[in-house]
């Protein structure tokens, strides 16, 4: 299924891309209240999801399962992305969330191929 020559390098590259994009996020939290999934807790927003991705990838905090639940509760409506572009630093949060789903899936498939 996967045509990668060096899957570990691909995963690393994907992770770096995601972390670089998150570095642009300045935690201004202007994407929080306008997220359609927001019901009062900050992880129900692009900022919260990006903070979770950041600390999970950098420090291994939290579980992949819990992270994935956060990522998949995002509706991909892109409201956050448009607002971030107009009012803030254009961290492309919606794309980051989708990319991280792809990263987690690739990681899992890689593990399974290794028969781990």
């Amino acid at each position: 299924m996967s045509p990668h020559n060096d899957p570990e390098a691909d995963l690393k590259a994907m992770e770096t891309e995601i972390l670089n994009a998150i570095q642009t996020c300045i935690n201004c939290r202007m994407c929080v209240r306008m997220c359609p999934t927001h019901e009062g807790w900050v992880t129900q927003s692009a900022f919260g999801r990006l903070a979770a991705i950041n600390l999970h990838l950098k420090y291994g905090l939290g579980s992949e399962k819990e992270l994935s639940r956060l990522l998949f509760s995002c509706a991909n409506c892109r409201r956050c992305q448009v607002r971030c572009r107009m009012l803030s630093t254009n961290a492309t949060p919606s794309d980051v969330i989708i990319k991280t789903r792809q990263l987690l899936a690739r990681k899992a498939l890689h593990k399974e191929r290794q028969g781990a």
Binding site: Q23, I26, M34, V42, T43, L55, H56, M86, T89, N90
Partner: protein, 475 residues
């Protein structure tokens, strides 16, 4: 770890279970304030509580005081001088965003709002009733009224036009560090003379107590007129506003400055073309449109007298919005085109200087100082020139090593301190805790600082409210 589990179990009996979370991701995200670098893993709060009543806040604080557990108080957690960031391990992150009730009392000319009410929502609500919110910060889409009162900020607005936020606060509901709930102030539009406990908490950055409710006067909305001008030199804009006040003209509600380089990205984003120079903006207010327009025309004359290559009253509401947004959304400048190196906003200076020295400070930011790393970084000058408040933002390439970028931030803080000491002033927009404590001590002296620590000790003997902030800990 079992300490944390005990804490969570205890708190579950003190608050509604929907108002508490121990999820690692929530705790991380709440703790991560708006400055680099990442929150240290050891300082991630043990639990986040979002009480929906002052009684819940009181119970949590009483408990924390007994057990000597640190509490970090958030509105939205957007203050960016380090105050929202937890500095001790095992803390309770207390978010005021669950306190959202609003009550209008038009017959007595005031409204009451829970500390967690969002500023933008509040502004919209007031406008819909013909009133205005006498403050406007760039982060209003996220920030809360409790946070604003706790820091005594009005953001962009000109202080001497309508006063700072504290001038509109008639009273507060506060939870003391021992958990007791008190009410301060009055329901009359004439506030108490002499001792008024309101002032012990408004503007003291959550160091002495937790504001849970704010009572503010209702301020009828004004008519406005907008002026834009483009100037060859930044200092021309400073001179324009110096002249405005010299001529004893009424202060505009806003007087803004944005250097030409900082205009480019936001102008492009909004289809405003290339900036013709450094941008000066003013918004005047009047009880009648005629009054506002007349003042605006006077400002146009002044702009032109100070070398503006273009200065005019902006009539179209779309243009008004666009120019304002270009100035307001300063973070747009960090949007680098593809292929260009990303910039990080590492060195931020904000200082409110004496009127006669507006131009001097601009020059000092750019060429006068001798901080080497700052000179290497990319500088954007902008700010609320109408209220004598200037910003310098030094941006560092993302490829710089972390130590160098942190050095940039350190130098900026030193530069800010230097400017404030040289010209006898201070920051007018964001609080003194926690990154500005070194300045606070130098500016107003050790005796005063000791007094501050004594008062803190007296009110909060277990040092549970925002510990580390008044000590100036952290970054």
């Amino acid at each position: 770890m079992s300490e944390d589990k005990r804490l969570i179990a205890d708190l579950m009996s003190l608050v509604n279970k929907e108002n508490l979370t121990a999820s690692i991701y929530e705790r991380m995200a709440y703790g991560q304030d708006g400055i680099q670098p990442d929150l240290e893993p050891e300082n991630i709060p043990a639990v986040v509580v979002k009480p929906t009543s002052v009684q819940e806040v009181s119970r949590v604080v009483k408990y924390a005081n007994e057990k000597k557990i640190p509490i970090y108080i958030h509105g939205a957690g957007t203050a960016f001088k380090g105050s929202p960031r937890p500095k001790r391990a095992g803390s309770i992150l207390l978010s005021a965003e669950g306190l959202t009730a609003i009550e209008l009392h038009e017959e007595d000319m005031y409204f009451e709002a829970g500390a967690g009410v969002n500023q933008y929502e509040l502004e919209k609500m007031l406008l819909s009733h013909g009133y205005m919110l006498p403050m406007n910060v760039g982060s209003k889409y996220s920030a809360t009224i409790g946070g604003a009162v706790s820091i005594n900020t009005i953001g962009h607005m000109v202080d001497i036009c309508l006063g700072k936020i504290i001038d509109h606060v008639m009273g507060l509901e506060v939870v003391l560090p021992n958990g007791e709930v008190i009410e301060t102030g009055t329901r009359s539009i004439r506030r108490p003379a002499g001792i008024d406990y309101t002032r012990f908490f408004a503007g003291t950055e959550g160091v002495f107590g937790i504001i849970t409710k704010v009572r503010m006067r209702l301020l009828p909305n004004y008519r406005r007129a907008h002026v834009v001008g483009f100037f060859p030199e930044l200092t021309d804009i400073a001179h324009a506003f110096m002249r405005l006040y010299r001529e004893k003209l009424p202060p505009p509600l806003y007087g803004e400055l944005l250097d030409k380089r900082a205009c480019i990205a936001p102008f492009e984003l909004r289809g405003l073309g290339e900036p013709k120079g450094n941008m000066g903006l003013a918004i005047t207010i009047g009880h009648t449109q005629e009054d506002a327009d007349q003042q605006a025309e006077k400002i146009v004359t002044i702009f032109k007298a100070e070398n503006a290559v273009e200065a005019r009253v902006v009539k179209s509401s779309k243009e008004q919005e666009d120019y304002w947004a270009a100035r307001d959304n300063i973070l747009n400048i960090l949007q680098t085109p593809e292929g260009e190196e990303k910039l990080l906003p590492m060195g931020a200076v904000e200082t409110s200087v004496p009127l006669s020295h507006l131009a001097d400070v601009i020059d000092y930011f750019r060429t006068g100082h001798s901080y080497p790393v700052l000179h290497e970084a990319r500088l954007y000058v902008y700010g609320h020139v109408g209220t004598c408040d200037l910003h310098g933002l030094w941006c560092t390439p993302a490829s710089w090593p972390l130590e160098k970028t942190l050095e940039c931030r350190k130098e900026a803080l030193l530069l800010e301190k230097e400017v404030n000491l040289m010209w006898g002033c201070a920051s007018g927009e964001v609080g003194q805790t926690a990154m500005r404590i070194a300045f606070l001590r130098e500016r107003w002296g050790e005796a005063a600082y000791m007094m501050l620590l004594d008062i803190k000790k007296a009110i909060d003997p277990n040092n549970i409210l925002n510990p580390g902030n008044v000590e100036g800990e952290g970054l």
